[in-house]
């Protein structure tokens, strides 16, 4: 029971989606659009799930004074702050429980939620990703070493593209005559991107696509059921 009914659900839903792709006649369209609408609502709840487990995890760490609990407290406070700002006064043009909070907007210049977003969330998220610039530099430094044929291929294309995607490439080989334009580095980089790169990406897409088709099919047919988790 605990497993067979969900499997039937997945099967029925999957088959309806498949059929409706090819059948223009009612009621398939209607069923699928209803299904899609439901999907949106259920995933709304599913996202809630992550937030709840985050709160639980943090409170557990704080309550038991696990190492670094102070930081988790800070996390929890920022969560509560942002959430209550959002619920009380809404964001941007959307009003919240207490209306649009014009008084506060007059003082802050924007809603408190947007204030936190612009001055805390945004810089944090952008900076976290920008750390990768440094990691990529150090990875290039230590990994792009002349070794075997295959790794050299990788390194040479990387170098061509790195040069070709900037103004330096334009300057470096801009003097080449019309007949040798192919070897102009930005052109060469575009050529690599357009042909060999596309070919390899296409091969990955096709084979991984087949893998996904296969596993989706197994899920619909109920052969693959590990997503239901252990008992």
């Amino acid at each position: 029971m605990k497993r067979s009914i969900p499997l039937i659900f997945a099967f029925v839903v999957g088959v309806i989606v498949l059929l409706s792709e090819f059948i223009p006649h009612r009621p398939f369209n209607l069923i699928v659009s209803t299904l899609e609408n439901w999907f949106m609502i259920i995933s709304g709840f599913a996202i809630l799930l992550g937030q709840i487990s985050l709160i639980r995890m943090n409170s557990y760490k704080i309550a038991n004074r696990l190492p670094d609990w102070q930081y988790y407290l800070a996390g929890l406070i920022s969560f509560a702050l942002m959430l209550s700002f959002g619920i009380l006064w809404g964001m941007q043009e959307t009003p919240g429980l207490l209306g649009t909070g014009e008084e506060i907007v007059n003082k802050l210049g924007m809603k408190p939620f947007d204030y936190l977003f612009n001055h805390a969330y945004m810089p944090l998220s952008a900076t976290l990703f920008s750390l990768l610039a440094f990691f990529i530099a150090s990875a290039a430094y230590r990994a792009f070493i002349i070794r075997g044929f295959e790794s050299n291929l990788l390194m040479i294309t990387a170098v061509i593209v790195i040069i070709g995607r900037t103004s330096i490439g334009t300057m470096l080989t801009g003097w080449l005559p019309e007949s040798l334009q192919f070897w102009h580095i930005p052109n060469l980089a575009d050529f690599i991107m357009e042909y060999p790169n596309s070919a390899a990406q296409r091969a990955i897409l096709i084979s991984a696509g087949l893998g996904i088709v296969g596993s989706s099919l197994r899920i619909i047919l109920g052969i693959e059921r590990s997503y239901l988790g252990g008992d």
Partner: protein, 364 residues
């Protein structure tokens, strides 16, 4: 005889010059559009198409300056009569023509035929091979380079008395890569139980956590070492992507595992993990079908399972008939794809584009 011919000719000419306006239900669709075609005298200046709303009220839906053309009126209701009016201004005159049609829903989108055929062929192949595998047919899977490292990595960890780290990606159980990753974990856990080496598995989602514990526990039992199984070595970190990565970084710096395995779905964090792992001197094996992240793993890990190799590895290690059969089915699909491309290219070169048109018919 001759008079008949003259008659046909006259009819033909009159057809050419007569003003003609038709409305026909679009074939093979969901009954929400009607095709309007008109052919007027070449003297036409402007053409206005209108649809009846009620009685004498008409709504303009399209304007054109061409004397011959067609227009598809979309967004209609199925199984309804629609009345259309065409107003044409000539140089010195104007006319109004009327046409009507009923929208009909059909039972098949004809332009998707190629799509359907390919879909059925591939799906049947997969199901066929799965069935065959279940009945005991054994399929060969070629050696996958990245897997050889596994023994080496475990051996080295045992030698140094340091643990192994396994990260099952950052997606939930609904991602097929996570499932493939857990199959690989099962194999790894069995070996590490045999060698009596600690195995750490940090998880990002609660469902992945429970599944991973299950898998590892079973593997330890299978290896005959249920006593060595430590549930706490498989733990939940946090749902947040960067929080999760920072947590793993911490483990790598503190515990200094001798071997790191990153298998599953990875995003921007791939490079952070691999670079931090390198700085601790671990042997690193990665595997993902996430094409964007592959270069970073290839560059900074010792071994990488590329794209579908991850799925193949999971079938290879588990010898599970449904996975083996499915993989054989995918291979059939690849062969089909290669053949289609070869034939398609040959046809294109000799100037026959039937195959390509048929396949891409779904796009129009």
């Amino acid at each position: 005889m001759r008079s008949t011919l003259v008659f046909i000719l006259l009819l033909f000419i009159s057809c050419l010059t007569a003003n003609n306006f038709t409305a026909i239900d679009t074939p093979w669709d969901d009954g929400k559009s009607i095709n309007l075609n008109w052919k007027l005298s070449p003297m036409t200046k402007t053409v206005t198409l209108q649809r009846q709303i009620d009685g004498d009220i008409f709504e303009t839906i399209h304007k054109s300056t061409e004397f011959q053309g067609s227009f598809r009126d979309n967004g209609l209701e199925p199984q309804q009569e629609y009345i259309y009016r065409l107003q044409a201004d000539f140089l010195d005159d104007n006319i109004v023509l009327q046409a009507e049609a009923k929208t009909k829903e059909q039972w098949f989108y004809l332009h998707k035929l190629a799509f359907l055929i390919l879909l059925l062929v591939v799906c049947f192949a997969i199901v066929y091979y799965i069935q065959k595998a279940k009945r005991g047919k054994e399929y060969y899977i070629r050696r996958i380079a990245g897997l050889d490292s596994m023994e080496e990595a475990i051996g080295r960890a045992t030698e140094k008395g340091r643990p192994i780290l396994f990260v099952p990606g950052i997606s939930d159980l609904d991602d097929i890569q996570t499932i493939a990753s857990l199959t690989i974990l099962s194999h790894l856990a069995e070996r590490s139980a045999e060698y009596d080496t600690d195995l750490f598995v940090p998880c990002r989602f609660s469902m992945v956590l429970s599944a991973a514990r299950e898998v590892v526990k079973e593997a330890y039992i299978k290896a005959g070492r249920p006593d060595a199984y430590k549930a706490d070595n498989i733990f939940y970190l946090t749902d947040d992507q960067f929080g999760f990565v920072a947590g793993i970084d911490g483990i790598m710096l503190r515990e200094k595992p001798a071997a790191n395995f990153f298998m599953g779905s990875f995003y921007a964090e791939s490079l952070i993990l691999a670079e931090t792992g390198f700085s601790t001197g671990a042997i690193q094996t990665a595997g993902t079908a996430q094409a964007h992240q592959l270069p970073f793993f290839v560059v900074s890990c010792d071994y990488t399972l590329i794209g579908e190799e991850l799925f193949a590895a999971s079938a290879y290690l588990s010898k599970d008939p449904q996975q083996m059969g499915s993989l054989k089915g995918h291979d059939f699909g690849k062969l089909l794809v290669i053949l289609l491309i070869v034939f398609g290219v040959i046809f294109e070169i000799i100037g026959i584009s039937f195959l390509k048109d048929f396949l891409s018919g779904a796009a129009s």
